[in-house]
Assembly symmetry: C2
Amino acid sequence: MKNNVKITRIKQSITQQQLAKRVGVTRQTIGLIEKGEYNPSLQLCIAIAKELNKTLDDLFWEVE
Amino acid sequence: MKNNVKITRIKQSITQQQLAKRVGVTRQTIGLIEKGEYNPSLQLCIAIAKELNKTLDDLFWEVE
DNA sequence: TCTTTAAGACACATATATATTGCATATGTT
DNA sequence: AACATATGCAATATATATGTGTCTTAAAGA
């Protein structure tokens, strides 16, 4: 469950809290997703991708 | 929550049941996802995409 | 016609994503 | 030193994805 959320977020200089608020979840949820520890819903993945101006593939596809 | 799973699956002539078995869920789950009624997990989306030889974007990105 | 297979629909049970709260630590600022 | 902000971590609560079982309908083959 690795992904590119953290690196993408940091490049854009926004905090977990800001991203969380913009996509409508809590900071903890963003933290866990970045940590790769669990398995977000598709809707949330899409919301995060749009907020970071990326696509699903950019953030979540074959990140080894 | 619309997506291209159903059309892609049918083009490849496989049944809901076959796809379900290959990705490790039940036929009902595949049915609901194709119907667009709900919000699958990222892991399941990835499993479906790989099984259908597509990417996340192919199946789930901006399908209006 | 009879049988089999694919698929839609529904009720209920269970697993897990997400929320909420709180505490700890590190860093930057005054 | 004191304070604020960002992040990690953990416990418990709630919402919902998914499983299980069943019934129904439509289509295909014998």
